[in-house]
Amino acid sequence: MTVRECMQRLEAEVVVGDEWLDRKVESVAASDLLSDVLATHKHNFLLLTGLSTPQVVRTAELMGSVGIVFCRGKYPPQDAIGMAKVHGIPLLCTRLQMFEACCRLAGLGLEQDSTP
């Protein structure tokens, strides 16, 4: 599963990072709480969120996330776009709500983490 395939599933639009869409997605983390994202054990994950702040990009960068999808039509602020460019993190926007976005990505062979 690549970022591009996820993008197509989510009918998402690329804000920045066309050149990084072939990166492999191993799992997905979906949260509006960055503290939860920082606690995940997942690697090479796509981050789905409803938060659109520069801290989302910082968190993704430090966690080695392969891309960020802003849900429900959120659009990242300009400074977040600048940061994402530097760190090679593709930013995508989808109109889907987070739950629907998760449903579309479920059952596609992405890793599931059952640890509480």
Partner: protein, 317 residues
């Protein structure tokens, strides 16, 4: 599914609207207008104006005499002239004489209002002495706004690229390298810079990415804590050949009950912090989980010193 183009409109966030309207009120017509205006004189032929429009790919030409706007010829006027066989007539005979103009010092918002009200796509711009200095179209405004928004992104990009370890250049790796970063209270804009710089440094050393991630997460949590809860302080990373030791030292106000602070879900963070996705009371437990050693010293009214170590050879799963 991927073959069908999808047309989408995104609902605009209130904060984004406010950025744009702020920009529009700051912007004056002179900041946006095209200064190099193609003009014609009343004595020229409509044919000449037609050629100017074709060559410059424009749809309106102000007619000027002694620096003053005396008329304007639009693409519609030219089409009508072609239709009626009047294209060789002097401009003066067919130009619109009551030209609506706008001052170079008025705001872009006012210019948009004016264009809307009059139903014009372009307005000649006059300076305070009444001389023609430019022309403004909807397109000029849109392009300028897009430029300005992109400028914000580019500045952020530049800041991020310059984010390098600020002290002691990496020396011989058998010694200790010390990286120190001031962290200010409530400075969310710079939150995570220290962690990012340290991550970069460790990457340059070729440390295992899984180890780097544990360091980065623990350090980011500690950095956020200093920003959220303290009066400001310093993050110091000491990098030894076999480990990294990070200290977050703040200037107070201290933690009255460390045991409580360590409890998952306990937090004293403000609503603002929570809206940004932090303050869930997971920070300290997460640091402890990521690190090989973890110590915290504090008391009410005293500075807080948090120190953790991560070894470069894994000791933890």
């Amino acid at each position: 599914m991927a073959d069908t183009p999808i047309v989408k409109t995104f609902p605009t966030e209130p904060q984004n609207i406010s950025i744009i309207s702020e920009l529009m009120y700051q912007l004056k017509v002179r900041d946006v207008m095209t200064a190099n205006v193609a003009t014609a004189t009343p004595q020229q032929r409509l044919r000449d104006v037609q050629h100017i429009m074709r060559d410059r790919k424009i749809s309106g030409v102000p007619i000027v005499e002694n620096g003053r706007v005396v008329g304007i010829v639009s693409l519609d006027d030219i089409i009508r002239a072609l239709d009626k066989g009047e294209i060789e007539l002097p401009v003066a005979e067919r130009m619109t004489r009551n030209v609506v103009t706008i001052g170079d010092n008025v705001s872009v918002v006012k210019a948009i209002d004016e264009m809307e009200k009059r139903g014009f796509g372009r307005l000649p711009v006059l300076n305070k002495d009444g001389y023609l200095v430019g022309i403004i179209t909807h397109w000029d405004i849109v392009r300028k706004l897009v430029d300005m928004l992109q400028e914000v992104a580019m500045q952020a990009e530049q800041r991020e690229r310059n984010l390098a370890p600020p002290t002691s250049p990496p020396t011989d790796h058998s010694e200790v390298t010390i990286l120190e970063f001031p962290v200010e209270k409530d400075d969310f804009e710079n939150a995570g810079r220290a962690s990012s710089a340290v991550k970069k440094h460790l990457q340059q050393r070729g440390i295992d990415p899984a180890i780097i991630r544990r360091v980065a997460v623990a350090m980011y949590e500690a950095e956020i804590n200093v920003i959220i809860h303290s009066y400001g302080g310093t993050m110091t990373a000491r990098i030894y050949p076999d480990r990294i030791e990070v200290t977050a030292l703040d200037r107070g106000p201290g933690i009255p009950n460390i045991e409580l602070a360590m409890k998952e879900g306990y937090s004293t963070a403000s609503d603002r912090v929570r809206e940004m996705g932090f303050g869930a009371g997971m920070g300290l437990p997460n640091i402890k989980r990521c690190a090989d050693t973890f110590e915290i010293e504090s008391a009410a009214g005293a500075p807080t010193r948090l120190t953790f170590t991560v070894y470069f050879v894994p000791r933890k799963q």
